[in-house]
């Protein structure tokens, strides 16, 4: 680094040397932070698109195609964006850079859990999300010391994105890869004492991963409820009233969950804001179900009503 020293500042002065070292550390941290922020923004944009894609499902028959496309997109986000975040976090305390990627992570959890709910009709678990962001060591790795956004080599290394096939089948990146220290991540003594750093059942050896703090996971789930509400309103518009009742049940379960979480201590302000939104979403769906019922009551039988609605739509 050709750092110009002011005149009269002795480059051999140990204090000056020490401060040069401080400068290097601060710059590296800042550069890494910026790189992660940028990846996070990309993840946010792409996750939002997955969510929109999933809203295009209007009936059972739509599912295979849409879910297939969503799966591919999610895989791309994982392999081409999260992978680089993970690489940046090798040998770092992930909490140090959490603020840089928390936005992207929450949006990604929202998208992934929405996908999962539609596929499997259940809430995704934290383990599953964390597992998704756990990468095999033999995958392509970018240079470890990528630093200067102005350094073309470094930038190139990051942007030589492994295509889907590469990531899984090849180990094309060896020429630019650098040994990742063999030592495993330090681990908390037990899961209960430390919380959520490590993968359950995984010793996390020699692996690349992006830590998913449980709080960010749950904040992502809170956003999910907004999408579920939108879907419920959608389904009413489409005459699928039963689905609306099902989604209400799901939201009630989520509401129970957040009711418990909502009063916990040391909670981020974000959380209470999101819980507020959840309450509104739930009430919207409750009101929708109410109006289905209050109208349905004018007609003798509920099934008859459904038939009628179906007829008026499909005939």
């Amino acid at each position: 680094e050709p750092k110009t020293l002011p005149k009269g500042v002795d480059p051999n002065n140990p204090i000056i040397q020490q401060f040069q070292e401080h400068a290097r550390i601060l710059d590296e941290k800042n550069d890494k932070y910026e790189r992660i922020v940028k990846l996070s923004r990309d993840i946010t944009v792409e996750s939002k698109r997955v969510i929109f894609l999933l809203h295009r499902i209007t009936c059972e028959d739509d599912k295979p195609a849409v879910l297939g496309e969503a799966e591919i997109k999610l895989g791309d986000i994982r392999k081409r964006l999260w992978y680089y975040v993970a690489s940046e976090l090798v040998n770092e305390d992930p909490y140090k850079f959490l603020r840089a990627y928390t936005g992207g992570l929450q949006e990604y959890v929202e998208a992934l859990s929405f996908y999962h709910y539609i596929c499997y009709d259940e809430l995704i678990s934290w383990e599953k999300v964390q597992e998704e962001l756990h990468f095999q060591r033999n995958a392509h790795r970018p240079k470890d010391e990528v630093k200067d956004p102005l350094d073309p080599k470094a930038a190139q290394a990051r942007e030589t994105i492994p295509t889907k096939e590469q990531t899984e089948d090849e180990d094309a990146g060896d020429s630019v890869s650098v040994a990742i220290q063999e030592e495993a991540h330090p681990e908390p003594k037990s899961d209960s004492s430390g919380g959520n750093t490590n993968l359950k059942g995984s010793t996390a050896k020699k692996s690349l991963q992006v830590l998913v703090p449980k709080t960010d996971f749950v904040l992502g789930l809170a956003d999910l409820t907004g999408e579920v509400m939108r879907q419920a309103i959608n389904f009413i518009g489409l005459g699928n009233t039963q689905a609306c009742f099902d989604l209400m049940e799901f939201l009630h379960a989520m509401h129970d969950g957040f009711l418990d979480v909502g009063y916990r201590h040391d909670m981020r302000r974000e959380m209470s804001r999101k819980i507020n939104v959840l309450n509104h979403s739930l009430q919207k769906v409750e009101n929708a179900c109410y109006s289905i019922n209050v109208r349905g009551s004018e007609f003798p039988s509920k099934t008859h009503l459904a038939d009628l609605l179906l007829n008026s739509r499909e005939s």
Binding site: K3, L5, P6, G8, V9, D10, N13, P14, I15, I16, Q18, F19, Q20, H22, A23, I25, L26, D27, N30, N91, E92, D93, P94, Y95, K96, L98, E122, L123, I124, S125, W126, H185, P186, E187, P188, K189, S192, S193, G194, G195, N196, T197, P213, K214, T215, F217, V218, L221, E249, F250, A253, M254, D256, G257, F258, D260, V261, R264, H265, D266
Partner: protein, 231 residues
Amino acid sequence: MANVSEVFRDYAESIEAEHEVREKVRDKLRVIETLARESSAMLQHVHQPSGFAKIADITAQAERHLVDQIRPALAELSSSVPASQFYRYYAMFNYTLMRLCHLCSLIHFLKEGQLLTRAATAQDWLQIGQSRADGFYLEVDDYLGGLIQTSNELARFAVNCVTNQDFERPVQICEFLSTLLAGFRLLNLKNDNLRKKFDSLKYDMKKVEEVVYDLSIRGLTKSPPTGALED
């Protein structure tokens, strides 16, 4: 929706666990803060006529207090923070660490007239790590923040030295701050907390320069101070 409640039960447990860590950290911190306040109170005496004569005693006392009391308390704090989650709780003890660095570098300067390096602060004085690999460690930011607190204290001290008829020490302080300033100038600081503190360092420098000036024009310095950055 059985798995919904499982997910939340799991989360509730993890919050509870985190809460416990926080409580523990908070307790340990409270002890350290009280001790650090005591240390500061001791060191305050150097500003006063009564204390001025016994600077060596005061620093020795403060150092002992640091070694005997603060260091073990810090070790307890350190062991209550899961090694891999240093940054998870960082915002809780961050400011306190900075203050401890300040105490170390102030005592060291009063004794030796020298800058205490980060390595020495972490290893010899606080006995915590120097890098992420060491678990609980001394971040560069906190070390630097501590140095600036020391510079604030020394600027005030330079003034009181003169009141107490010590005309040598201000020159020594002047050189020290000058070196520090040169060092800080090498850093790329974001528009953050540290940068604002750095500005206060410049004012300290100015203040001490004025003191040295006042002394020189009155011929009260033994010899003109030697260039601060040329040693």
